[in-house]
Amino acid sequence: MDGLVQLQKQLVDYTASLFREGFLDDQFNQLQQLQDESNPEFVVEVVTLFFEDAERLLNELSKTLDSSFPNRGQASIDFKKLDAHVHQLKGSSSSIGAQRVHSVCISFRNSCEEQNVEGCLKNLQQVRHEYSLVKTKLETLFRMEKQILEAAG
């Protein structure tokens, strides 16, 4: 029994740290509220969709920015296309409460609007980094939840 209580406490502490450090915001709580007996895997399912879509969008963003090489001139980048992809990523990250990814997307959209190439490249690096962090954190969270379910028998 002690082991289970310990795991549960670790989960509570870990989840709290994700909110405290800004990785997640209240929208994640909203998602958890939507999970119930009729929809027991909802959070994992919707977050998995987010991972798939985010990875696709990050690839598209890289391709769109890379297509400017070797010129890397403003004229060769399709900022409209870039903005459309960032807009999508901004929307889906906001839907699951991935706050830091969402924040970088806001800056990224500003860079697109200003047609700021260097800004866009920097933002892409930032959003990749934030996405990678939140993905790792959420995977850890889900693993801990699974351990608890298994320990509870």
């Binding site: 909203q30 939507l34 987010f50």
Partner: protein
């Protein structure tokens, strides 16, 4: 005894190009008791459903979508005489954007992301 406007009798349509948002909005609607749901990924598909004779009590309409956006879809639905409650949902907060969307014929507008409380408030207005 179920009240006259019980949410379980309502039929809702989610219109959004982002599948994460579609999934979340569907789950929100189910949570507040709406049992009859459909979802499509752009405004044109929403218009087509109505052209095929479908009607809904509530449409959650995203603003920015490919093929046909929410503003255009709302205008078309209203010009077809469609009286469904259309709630615009968008992450765009700018007053001009919101006004343009409202002017297209929305009943209400909410900023994304939607929450359970916001949806309950919307259902109460139907």
């Amino acid at each position: 005894m179920k009240p006259k406007n019980s949410s379980s009798q309502l039929k809702a349509l989610v219109v959004d190009d982002d599948r994460v948002t579609r999934m979340t909005h569907e789950a929100l609607l189910k949570k507040v008791g709406v049992e009859s749901l459909a979802s499509v990924e752009n405004g044109k598909k929403a218009v087509d459903l109505h052209c095929n004779g479908q009607s809904f009590d509530l449409i959650l309409m995203d603003k920015d979508m490919p093929v046909m956006n929410g503003v255009e879809a709302t205008k078309q639905l209203r010009s077809m005489g469609i009286r469904d409650m259309i709630v615009g949902v968008s992450s765009s907060r700018g007053a001009e954007n919101v006004q343009q969307f409202m002017d297209a014929g929305l009943d209400h507008f909410y900023t994304k992301p939607l929450t359970v409380d916001m949806l309950k408030a919307i259902i109460d207005k139907i």
